[in-house]
Assembly symmetry: C2
Homo-oligomer: 238 residues x 2
């Protein structure tokens, strides 16, 4: 049910805190770089916690993986300066959204991509994407439930990479609003299918009206790929 | 439980024949290019059947996909000459085996790859693979249960392709013995980990002793990728 801990549903934060609690024999909270919604995946989520426990880094990695369900894995552990905060210290984040272009379903990837039956006009999608790169008010690209104080964000890169039947939409930016990547992808797909002009993005940014942007793309195609920091790492495993 | 129909376990052949039966309101058998074992995947399995029913090709594709469980999908349908036989008419087949090279597990791909913690010496693996290309008696590379009358097969290509943390072993050949690809991969991995010399493959081919080849690689990394025919296709969808 997504990252954030909930009372009545299993969440990534919940199972990680439970495993850490068993490993360290205490209760603690972990802070992530951001909350992923239910159905969204992460290849490179970063979470931090403070402990006075003396478990070595390799013990955290292998110990937690032994306690976690198999659809949650710890890839690495690092000791960082005390002031490090997974969310506030992040310099930029990269998301990847997988579009599967095929008139017929596949037995693979149905939980990790959004299948589109109609062909996509990549040149039009790239033209639309070009208008989104840079610093803008992304009010039209945030969900109603977004509680960020303002909607100005910077997108450093918005690339479309073809890999066979898959089209990867890769977005790198300084920070993201709630559902921002999924609404961007939904809008670019409408452009790719010829249901919206690439230039319509300019008006969306200027007017900030969520109801005029594209539909929110389904969660299962979205991956939090990488979070970057310039904090020095004191020690890391592996 | 693999391709071949069984009484007490769900199989791919079983669910396909059941769906076809519902669509055509009759009982029939389908013939595949080969049986995949339990846990092995297929991206391009080909199966044929005879019918006098008048369902259009697009009706087979979408009708079957509506009736099949979501982990089995029909990618395309084609009408072929009456003498076509998925197994006997095959000119060559391509298998792909996915090795995931990482000291830590991933939440993704655990059902579609074999994870190896130790680094692999690719040059040694390629040297070992080179000895397998061509026409040989592959007796050392068939499982005890293999009932083929002889073990001479031709491997056209045996390539190792790096894709980030993944290493794909791609094997193309005229036909394959039972577990042949998995035993080849198991042997190449032992070479890559330095537990066996690349030249040992020459002796394995000459002596034909299964017990001296590598362990059978686990099924979940193996994909039947493509089966090629030179039969003319009368009509196809999509």
């Amino acid at each position: 049910a997504g990252w954030q801990v909930q009372d009545n549903a299993p969440t990534v934060q919940g199972v990680v805190e439970q495993a850490l609690g068993r490993l360290l024999k205490t209760t603690l909270r972990v802070t992530a770089s951001g909350r992923t919604d239910a159905g969204v995946h992460a290849l490179g989520q970063v979470a931090n916690f403070r402990t006075t426990g003396r478990v070595p880094l390799r013990g955290f990695v292998h110990g937690l993986n032994g306690l976690l369900p198999r659809d949650v894995a710890v890839r690495a552990a690092a000791e960082v300066p005390a002031e490090f905060d997974s969310r506030r210290s992040a310099v930029h984040k990269t998301y990847r959204y997988f579009l599967y272009r095929s008139p017929t379903p596949s037995a693979f990837g149905r939980r990790t991509s959004w299948r589109l039956s109609r062909p996509l006009d990549l040149a039009a999608m790239r033209a639309g994407a070009g208008h989104l790169v840079g610093t803008h008010d992304f009010s039209a690209f945030r969900s109603a439930g977004c509680d960020a104080p303002h909607a100005v964000r910077e997108i450093h890169e918005l690339a479309m990479v073809e890999r066979g039947e898959y089209l990867e939409v890769e977005v790198r930016g300084n920070a993201f609003l709630r559902n921002m990547v999924r609404i961007i992808v939904g809008t670019l797909v409408e452009i790719g299918e010829g249901r919206r002009a690439p230039e319509s993005v300019v008006g969306l940014l200027a007017e900030g009206d969520r109801t005029r942007a594209g539909a929110t793309a389904p969660p299962q195609g979205l991956f939090l790929a990488e979070v970057c920091y310039d904090t020095p790492v004191l020690e890391a495993y592996p």
